[in-house]
Point group: C2
Chain length 395, copies 2
């Protein structure tokens, strides 16, 4: 018996020696959030000529393109210090938020080797960190009861494939025997079924709001709105493609047409309250577009509708019946008006004008909606806030 | 209505312009798997002096440390070509496998900006890719029925915390009304509840084996064996710490003592067959150690036991009752012997000798086990193969 104690000692040796591989060694600590919420970023790169940092906490730049003014994250230079460690500390404390950043070393994008926390947005992976004390506290796990997050495969006869979605069930679901209302939460172009649960922090926000008594326990169904995909890149039978911000068969009616497949699965497999007053649907950008067209196509389904920074009109080439006869379908939907039809957008959003025009159309048709205008543009900081509000407005 | 068609055009413009930010632009394609399964890696880094590649497909190096010989991945130089794009193509086709790699630019570890597929192992994130045609085909999603993967929070009164585990339910679970056998699958030191489902490919392998008729449908419960953690770093109430390969309260009895909390939850919330012949437990390294000590502590629980590259003996300081009276407990466990007690290890594993000694002890006590010796050492390539075998041996 004594001999085999050696195993434990060898195991300890293994753990210690694990740091001795020069390309394994712990990276320079980064980012370091100081007590006053200023943040220091560090990258060891002794031979670099220029090291920069870009992130959504830096003052954004506006870039005029042929068709639109585009807001891109700012960029700053790091200063080289001892041992080739480059450093930058934010000039002011950062407001509570979940932030994203990356380094640019001699013009090339580089992830922070000191920070294992990364999220993919469309085709790009970025590092992330959270500043607490405000909305950032909603975007992380706290000592509150947690809902479960299930990666579920469902059959879509309409799209003729098995497809994946993510379903959040609220704390206590497993033992309560109760039935629950359902929010269908739809992503934007280039996103997928994982985006609301990672970048959008949907499960974290709801855990925290339920614990604070500010939102009702509900089931949240996060679908994949790209009709060509079974699932997020890397989790489908096409393997590991380079993700793209643009896919075929989006915004041409296929996803909206297949939406009853999603609802059929959810209402069969979960303890749902199957009536209009217990169903909500919301989405961002393309997901807002899907929300608009699904909710008017199935006018008796949803009592709560949320258009977040929403695209409005189908592309000229989209000839799906889903998009036909829009005015009459809206009239039909609003004949028994939803309890809430919420349009929310930032005043710098490139879809702002489209939403002004859509509200004019709704006014013309006598359709009653609620409108909220925020600052900012077409980004996740806004969408997380919109979702936080929407969670508190429904059911 | 025509006016708001503009929104769609602007959306298209947005998507197009998305690529115009110089630090957003698509990276150089990498890795490129050629038809003959040679692979080219590329990194654009015009100002770099030296660019290297390290990965588990390169001939490993042996490094002698004070206590053990350690096997580390090999490293090769890339060659600079046009436009500052560095390139390396493997000399020979790669065997079917899931591989991990990273670049080293002027001595600093850099992830491949051309590849969004990354996995964290302990404190380090690496890029990944899969070569098909053999076992690699088991490690990816194919056009077969899929099980669901649920991130579940359970109450552990023993550890006095809400803790997270990952539960795989097999295809058809939701509608079959059947009861299923359960495999408890335990991770190694520095890993967590996510490791078997990501690095270990446990859900993918089982989906594929069930589809091939080679494994029985079963529930797989992947716990967090670090008694100090609620969940994987980034998903617990301590926020976003720098992950470490070593944590307190591992291999000192706390996790093993709390294991009935896991089983209580699983057998209450899932349709499980609650008898010895329908329960399996297996783990790698520290998880093998947990498996050994849990299975002998609860001798009537598990009919299938798998020790993969297992640590054997408690640390000298570990005084938990779990570790007391080992020989008698083994005798008691083998009095009604498990249907399978499988010890498997690579002949280059640093725990090899400990396993030789453990087998001697089992022989001395007259405990009947099955032993398999493979090539290689203490790494995921082996553990995925061991799991693939174990899935086919149980139930």
């Amino acid at each position: 018996m004594k001999k085999i104690l050696l195993a434990a000692i060898m195991l300890a040796a293994f753990v210690t020696s694990h740091a001795q591989n020069p390309w394994d060694k712990p990276a320079t600590p980064s980012p370091e959030v100081h007590k006053d919420n200023t943040v220091t970023f560090r990258l060891k790169s002794p031979k670099a000529i220029r090291v920069q940092l870009s992130g959504d906490f830096l003052p954004p730049k506006k870039v005029k393109t042929k068709h639109a003014v585009r807001v891109i994250p700012g960029i700053v230079d790091l200063k080289e210090g001892k041992d080739g460690v480059w450093e930058y500390t934010t000039g002011a404390p950062l407001a509570s938020e979940m932030y994203h950043y990356w380094f640019v070393v001699d013009g090339q994008r580089v992830l922070d080797p000191g920070n294992v926390y990364m999220l993919r947005d469309k085709d790009i992976v970025r590092n992330m960190f959270v500043i607490g004390g405000g909305c950032g506290d909603l975007y992380r796990t706290n000592k509150v009861p947690h809902g479960n997050v299930n990666h579920v495969w469902y059959d879509s006869p309409t799209l003729q494939m098995e497809r994946r979605m993510i379903v959040y069930t609220p704390p206590g679901y497993e033992t309560s025997r109760k039935k629950y209302p359902v929010l269908y939460l739809l992503h934007g172009m280039g996103n997928d079924e994982t985006s609301w649960s990672t970048l959008g922090r949907a499960p974290y926000i709801l855990d925290n709001l339920i614990a604070q008594g500010k939102a009702k326990p509900m089931i949240v169904v996060m679908t994949n709105g790209n009709a060509i995909q079974e699932a997020v890149p890397g989790e489908s039978s096409i393997g590991f493609p380079v993700p793209t911000g643009y896919l075929e068969k989006t915004m041409e009616g296929s996803f909206e047409t297949s939406f009853p497949d999603v609802m059929t699965y959810v209402e069969k497999h979960y303890r749902t309250i199957n009536k209009k007053s217990a169903r909500a649907i919301a989405g961002l950008s393309m997901g807002g577009f899907h929300t608009l067209h699904i909710s008017k196509q199935y006018p008796d389904c949803f009592d709560y509708v949320g258009l977040f920074s929403s695209a409005i009109s189908p592309l000229p080439k989209a000839t799906s019946p889903i998009y036909q006869d829009m005015e009459n379908k809206l009239k039909r939907q609003f004949a028994s008006p939803p309890a809430l039809y919420w349009i929310v957008i930032g005043n710098e959003d490139f879809l702002y004008k489209a939403n002004v025009d859509y509200r004019k159309l709704l006014d013309k048709l006598g359709c009653k909606y609620t409108y909220t205008e925020t600052g900012g543009g077409h980004f996740w900081q806004n969408w997380r806030l919109y979702l936080t509000d929407f969670y508190q407005k429904v059911f």
